[in-house]
Amino acid sequence: MSRTVARHAVLLTGVTALFALTACGSSSGGTKDAAATGGSGGKVTLNLVAYSTPQAAYTAEIKAFQATPAGKNVDIKTSFGASGDQSRAVASGQAADIVAFSLAPDIDRLVKAKLVDASWNANQYKGMITDSVVVITTRKGNPKNIKTWDDLVKPGLQVLTPNPFSSGSARWNILAAYGAETKAGKTEAQATAYLTALFKNVPVQADSGRASLQVFTGGKGDAILTYENEAIFAQQNKQAIDYTVPDSTILIENPIAITSKSSHPTQAKAFLDFLYSEAGQKIYEDNGYRPIVSTTPGADKFPKPAQLFTIADLGGWTAATKKFFDADTGLVTTIEKNNGVSTTGK
């Protein structure tokens, strides 16, 4: 009996030790990247709810902001996740003073829920904070020489793009492809045929842009459609990829807003002003985003595609969502359905 007790004791000690090691070791160990939110007893606490890709950028922004006079007594708690998930979380009650998402409809949802003023996009930048473009990302060295939209539909190629019913990134990708075709003079029918051919080359649709990128870096696929800032981020993290900015692509515009129920609107506005300042825009730039303020030094190092169109050129988000992504009648829904039925097995 005592042997069993001893055994139990040893095992229990083991489990406790494991937890103690991880939980307590942190207080003495170096804090790699938590300094941003660990303000020393800031008087005011703001909540930033953002999508997942600019996490590194915002960590740096917060640190820089807290070094300025306006940010000295401001502590900012952060939450990062998929853009749609985060938006819905705020809509169902998650505390937020500042929200930053990947596409405007995720802010519109909050306007509808009366959590963000309808005037959020009234400033000179229309409520946007950063830009990016849809690019074609490939393996390092681009061994299969995939550079254009036409290259993507070559038979036998594997192209990755996320599931358009759960991912904003996927929607930007599809609209970029469709827009590129129509801007090149193709008819709607031809553009739709292009999308069909493209989807035939898609073997897996992860549920978000970042997950899709990880599937790619994990070895699957020949090319992947991503945000430019995603490709840059992956390269900064030593992933073996290259990317090409197609001649014709869509301008991705990322929105930001202060919530109407924020209890610290002054400090929130101060943070926002910092993000629009040259210092703030430079940090975004260092993390792969195209600054929205065109005078930011270094903004011209981003390649300019010959043909850059926006969501407005495609009728705006509301019309585009209905036309392409409606669950019953959307263009993409029909394409996916036809592909699913016509190809068998795996």
């Binding site: 938590a34 997942s52 169902s92």
Partner: protein, 262 residues
């Protein structure tokens, strides 16, 4: 011999499905030596994440143990209308996907829903705070203690309990001094399995946590976040820790299961 071929089939099946994944996590974690692992686990973010996991899991297990033992006694030793329905209802959480768990809890306890609003006016926040995470964890691990204890209660029979009653013991005394000691090993087994399950919960907690870095981010959410930021050392280090906790829990449950069978 037929007996030996069965053995090999079982071993092959289990190795393929279980042991290889475990080996792979270990290999990937220590690919570059021990120090990256230590570094990754000693950041304050990692520390906070494990703390949150510990707090949420322990609370959930305590709640489910009280419920589990009570429900087992009710199901096995008593009869009442709706007993079969209760039995099925306890198993129901297994069929609910984590996304739906999150949705369901938010529909009731969300700040803008009737009950949630009532609680919010009294300063009680459930969703996007620790209580909501405990709730989600309790949901997914609900059946475990019941299913560990009920079969044992069934098996030991009521002879001793009835003897105690005829000798004048009250219901509670009988429970405390006869029943409880008899099912101790089974309760232990259920507790350890529950604890492991709670520590490992990801999906449902992800939806209701709010993912506030340093506050409502659990160890599993930490793994996902690190992996998404291409910080594979940290993701695998945390995964390894979680996997080892699971293995320790398994070894413990084996002893407890064997003890109960003796």
């Amino acid at each position: 011999m037929a007996k030996h071929s069965l053995r090999w089939v079982a071993l092959a099946y289990v190795t393929l499905l279980l042991l290889l994944p475990l080996g792979l996590v270990t290999w990937r974690t220590f690919e570059h030596g021990l120090s990256p692992v230590i570094d990754a686990l000693t950041t304050s973010e990692a520390g906070h994440a494990f703390q949150v996991t510990a707090v949420v899991s322990v609370l959930a297990v305590v709640l489910n143990t009280v419920f589990g033992v009570t429900a087992s006694v009710l199901l096995v030793r008593h009869e009442f209308p709706g007993r079969r329905l209760l039995n099925a209802a306890i198993d129901l959480p297994i069929a609910v996907s984590p996304v739906v768990v999150g949705l369901a809890l938010i529909l009731v306890y969300g700040k803008f829903e009737p009950i949630g609003r009532w609680l919010d006016h009294r300063g009680i926040g459930i969703i996007y705070a620790v209580p909501g995470m405990v709730l989600a964890t309790v949901f997914v691990s609900l059946p475990l203690v019941v299913r560990a204890v009920a079969p044992v209660l069934e098996e030991i029979g009521t002879d001793q309990e009835q003897a105690a009653r005829t000798l004048g013991a009250s219901g509670f005394q009988t429970f405390r001094r006869i029943t409880l000691p008899a099912i101790r090993a089974a309760v232990g087994y259920g507790v350890v399995l529950s604890l492991a399950r709670c520590i490992g919960e990801f999906g449902a907690v992800a939806v209701v946590s709010g993912r506030i870095v340093g506050q409502t981010q659990t160890a599993t959410l930490f793994v996902q976040e690190r992996f998404e930021n291409f910080d594979q050392p940290a993701a695998y280090a945390a995964s390894f820790t979680l996997a080892m906790t699971a293995v320790v829990a398994l070894v413990l449950t084996r002893y407890l299961r064997l003890k109960g069978q003796r």
